[in-house]
């Protein structure tokens, strides 16, 4: 993979798809395993975003390849099939930028009075 400066690399990855963005959000403050990620997203979005196992792991595969997340070891007592994922610095950066991008988009929409709120 070409080694871009992190800022540029982060910029090139935008915009994110909904599943990817939500996965990064879930991992932003805690390390989670696959099933916990699905549950976390479902709870946070009130069921609006409901990932299948395949969608989740298709995204995780790409996120790992892109070094936005990494795998971490967890307690031995847990189900051995479970793997925990942790967001990387690059991942955090990408999530922040996506949030900023969404914010800008939202502001534009408000200016056009598509939705109410402070522009």
């Amino acid at each position: 993979m070409p080694d871009y400066p992190r800022r540029d690399r982060a910029e090139r990855l935008l915009p994110l798809t909904e599943p990817v963005f939500h996965i990064l959000l879930s991992l932003s403050d805690q390390d989670l395993h696959g099933y916990a990620i699905i549950q976390d997203i479902r709870a946070r979005t009130g069921g609006d975003v409901d990932l299948t196992a395949s969608t989740l792991y298709a995204a995780i595969k790409r996120l790992l390849e892109g070094q936005l997340i990494k795998e971490v070891r967890r307690a031995a007592a847990d189900d051995p099939r479970r793997r925990y994922y942790q967001i990387t610095a690059l991942g955090l950066e990408v999530a922040r930028r996506e949030t900023a991008r969404l914010e800008r988009t939202l502001r534009l929409a408000r200016q056009k009075r598509l939705i109410s709120g402070k522009a």
């Binding site: 990855l13 798809t17 990817v20 196992a53």
Partner: protein, 892 residues
């Protein structure tokens, strides 16, 4: 559900599966557990969603692309890492994908091809399973090709492996060197008892080292050895695996006690489930234990030898040696063996018996169906390829090499064949279970027939061969055709005719006529058989057999008393008009025979007397069964009393031994001079012939001996005539016999009509099956004719339109099309008739009273075929007359 998901995970590329598969399975499991709390339906919906998503993931992961839902994530890892990098595989994948798209784009043609293939391959799979399971599959013995059955053939008697005598067998055993080991066996039916369970069961006597010859060991305990076959030892028995389970359940059978024929036997061994000798019905093996005198016997024909050839001796050498040994025996015992020759038959042939010709004929039938199906599909593909000529021309003009195009085309037909083959295996599976139900119950080795790996392999190969067969010509034609012409000709097709298509139609017509004629000939055979009068009146007769345990009923008087008492009681049952008994029922088998000696025409001691079947009967037997007395009288109660020794013979016996004169009054005896069944007796009457073994037997010889004269006969079949439904008497009859002696089982209770019907069942099942295949063939051929002509009309629309425009009448246009179709059908019919006559000789043995080239049958099927074909030709020709010239010409 979990299992399906785990299986589906294999669709993922290996690297992905290894990295994430286990996790995905775990997540799936948790999701389903969670949904299940909401109900089964929710869980099913979730599983469905997960599977669909997985399929999508797998498809895109294999293509190195992400599904649309995740496509944007590809930016995360630019440049994308591809999961595959195999150029050859890519190309093949591309070909298959292209072919699949094309098949989907022309659903009509695809469906027609797949259905045709599935039916033809299915029929082939099912019939081949039978042929493989019955005829080809090795018997469950090591080096079974070296096992042979030894018997003897006596000139003038029935043909085939016939049994031999103990004396001859022990001479063979002592004097031959071409065998590693030799033993003998004989089937026996005895009453097996344990506790209050008593059944008549088929078993076998083992003479010498039967199991050593077969080289099989027991699953539990031990087998019988030569050392067991010594007179005077304690009773020991080896049981078949299934039988042991039936009688002892899960308990250990070895060491247990059974009474067989009233004598206690200890179980010493249980054979594995796959062991069957001489057939699947044999449930136990006991040592024969002949005494020294009986080992010399030369007039009791009931043994068959079984031997293992030495590895150096082929069948011819073995036979030559057996003939040499038999010459010696003949010199020593001229009277017993004067006309006898030894026979050596491979064990498998002996086991399969006469099922071979019928099964091979059926396989021939389905192979013809397959060829017709392939011709049909080739025709469809050719028709489609004509439409695609321009596409191919353009691709070639753009630089595609003809080998590449050829490969592409062949991939298409192979893909079709693969789909058709897979569907065919499913059809075959269903058809096979139906077939096993239709086949006659006495089909040998039917128990082991299954759709096994061998059958599946052959099916796959056949499907592949079909794909090549029906794909090659269209592919060659397209990839090497005069492409520039096609490009120049524009969208409009030229009216070029393809001779191959006509040839295919002719072939189809010819082959399906052959099948139809075969089915017709078999049907005629069956109706002829059904017209055969069995020589007695089976309607309104109930029959059943009672065999006395000889160890309990030792004396002839006791046996006679039992049967007489049973008959008296049965006679008194309400609904019974008359009750009688015979040692062997008509049509149920040849029964036993004995040497036939005329007192007034004694044979020189160097000559063997002819053997004639005999029956021991009660006096009213002829009346009860409606067998006519043609000369003299029937038997009476007094016949058989001292000084009143009388017998009755069948017309066939009278004709053979007293041609042109009366047999009544002559005296005979049965058996060897020093071992007679009874002292001489006078023939008091001649009765009509009754079929003894089968309806198609040539002669029906029988000597009827009064029961009183052979009072010691231990097994009798009863016949009860009644005006009501015969089987409704069964319970009452059983009760009567149970009251006389509860330890004597009654078996083979059935209406006499059923015995006659059962003898028709092989012929009947052949007719049904070949008829089914013939109908399939006819349908395919008619569709073929119809398809080709319809296509032709469509192709020649412009030409026909011009003809109409310049004044041709619709009748003339129709005739133009009709003529072409009828010519193809006509040539096909002629070739088919020739082929039928040539092939019918090979299954002549299955025909009864029908010549292989029976003109009536051949004319009838030709007419039937012509009528069906005429319809197939008529419809497209009508369509030709509806061509609207203005519309067609405007198109151009």
């Amino acid at each position: 559900m979990m299992r399906i998901y785990r299986l589906a995970l294999f669709l993922l590329p290996r690297a992905v599966r290894e990295r994430h598969g286990a996790e995905m399975a775990a997540v799936f499991e948790q999701l389903i557990v969670e949904e299940r709390q909401k109900g089964r339906r929710a869980a099913a919906r979730a599983a469905q969603r997960e599977l669909a998503s997985l399929l999508c993931f797998a498809w895109h992961a294999r293509r190195g692309r992400l599904p649309r839902a995740h496509r944007d994530e590809s930016r995360l890892t630019w440049p994308t890492t591809a999961e595959r990098s195999h150029p050859m595989r890519d190309l093949l994948f591309q070909d298959v994908r292209y072919a699949a798209r094309l098949l989907v784009r022309t659903p009509g043609v695809t469906a027609a091809c797949v259905v045709t293939m599935a039916m033809a391959i299915g029929a082939n799979t099912a019939v081949f399973s039978l042929v493989h399971g019955v005829l080809l599959r090795p018997l469950p013995f090591p080096n079974e090709d070296r096992l042979v059955v030894l018997g003897q053939y006596t000139a003038g008697d029935e043909v085939g492996v016939s049994s031999t005598t103990p004396g001859n067998f022990f001479d063979w055993q002592a004097r031959t060197t071409a065998f590693e080991a030799m033993a003998a066996f004989a089937s026996t039916q005895r009453i097996v008892e344990r506790g209050d369970r008593a059944e008549r069961v088929l078993g076998a006597l083992s003479v010498g080292s039967l199991f050593e010859v077969l080289q099989r060991t027991a699953a539990e305990g031990r087998v019988l050895t030569a050392a067991d076959d010594v007179a005077g030892g304690p009773g020991i028995v080896v049981l078949a695996g299934g039988f042991a389970r039936q009688w002892f359940g899960d308990a250990q059978a070895v060491g247990q006690l059974l009474r067989i024929g009233g004598v206690p036997y200890t179980v010493v061994g249980v054979m594995p489930a796959d062991f069957a000798f001489p057939d699947y019905d044999t449930q136990y093996w006991i040592p024969a234990r002949f005494d020294a005198e009986f080992r010399q016997n030369r007039d009791q024909f009931f043994l068959r030898g079984v031997a293992r050839r030495s590895s150096g001796a082929d069948l011819d050498q073995v036979l030559a040696q057996m003939h040499g040994v038999m010459d010696g025996i003949r010199r020593e015992h001229p009277q017993a063996t004067a006309n006898a020759t030894a026979t050596v038959v491979p064990l498998r042939m002996f086991v399969v018996d006469d099922a071979g010709p019928r099964l091979w004929m059926l396989l021939g039938g389905v192979v013809l169906v397959l060829v017709i199906a392939c011709a049909n599909i080739a025709n469809l593909l050719l028709a489609r390829s004509t439409i695609r000529r321009r596409e191919m021309a353009v691709r070639q003009a753009l630089g595609a090499r003809s080998t590449r195009l050829f490969r592409q085309m062949l991939t298409e037909s192979l893909l079709l064949a693969a789909i058709g083959g897979a569907a065919g295996i499913a059809v075959g599976h269903v058809l096979l279970s139906a077939l096993l139900g239709w086949m006659p119950t006495d089909l040998p080795r039917a128990e082991g027939v299954s759709l096994d790996a061998m059958v599946l392999g052959v099916t796959a190969l056949v499907a592949l061969a079909c794909g090549v067969a029906f794909g090659t010509w269209p592919a060659l034609q397209l990839s090497h055709g005069q492409m520039t012409d096609a490009v120049r000709s524009g969208a409009r097709e030229t009216g070029r005719r393809d001779p191959v298509r006509s040839v295919l139609v002719v072939v189809q017509v010819a082959l399906s006529l052959t099948l139809l004629a075969g089915a017709g000939l078999l049907t005629r055979s069956l109706t002829n058989l059904m017209d055969v009068r069995p020589g007695f009146e089976p309607a309104g007769v109930l029959s059943f057999t009672v065999s006395l345990p000889t160890a309990v009923y030792r004396e002839p008087d006791a046996r006679y008393a039992f049967f007489t008492r049973a008959l008296d009681r049965l006679q008194a049952l309400p609904g019974v008009m008359s009750a009688d008994a015979s040692s062997t029922l008509p049509v149920a088998g040849r029964g036993v025979g004995a040497w036939f000696n005329q007192l007034d025409r004694p044979l020189p001691p160097t000559q063997t007397p002819p053997a004639v079947p005999y029956r021991v009967i009660t006096p009213g037997y002829f009346t009860t069964l409606g067998i006519p007395v043609l000369e003299g009288r029937g038997l009476t109660e007094e016949d058989g009393l001292p000084g009143r020794r009388a017998v009755v013979i069948s017309q066939a016996v009278a004709r053979r031994f007293w041609p042109g004169e009366s047999a009544v009054g002559a005296s005979i005896y049965l058996g060897a001079p020093d071992n007679r069944l009874f002292p001489d007796a006078e023939i008091v009457g001649v009765v009509g012939d009754v079929k003894q073994t089968a309806l198609d037997e040539a002669t029906s010889e029988a000597v009827y001996i009064p029961h009183r004269l052979m009072a010691g006969w231990p097994s009798m079949s009863f016949v009860l005539r009644t005006p009501i439904e015969p089987t409704s008497l069964a319970t009452a009859a059983r009760t009567v016999l149970r009251e006389i002696d509860p330890a004597v089982p009654v078996h083979d209770v059935r209406a006499a009509q059923e015995i006659v019907d059962r003898s028709l069942s092989p012929a009947r099942s052949s007719v049904y099956l070949l008829g089914l295949f013939a109908v399939m063939a006819l349908t395919l051929a008619v569709i073929g004719v119809f398809g080709v002509l319809s296509f032709l009309v469509a192709q020649r629309r412009a030409e026909l339109a011009i003809r109409v425009a310049i004044g041709a009448s619709s009748r003339a246009v129709q005739w133009l099309v009709l003529r072409q179709g009828l010519r193809q059908v006509g040539i096909g019919l002629a070739l088919g008739l020739l082929l039928t006559v040539a092939l019918a000789r090979s299954f002549e043995s299955l025909l009864f009273n029908v010549a292989p080239a029976d003109p009536l049958t051949l004319t009838a099927v030709s007419l039937l075929f012509a009528a069906a074909a005429a319809l197939a030709v008529w419809i497209p020709s009508r369509r030709a007359t509806r061509v609207d010239p203005s519309a067609v010409l405007r198109e151009g």
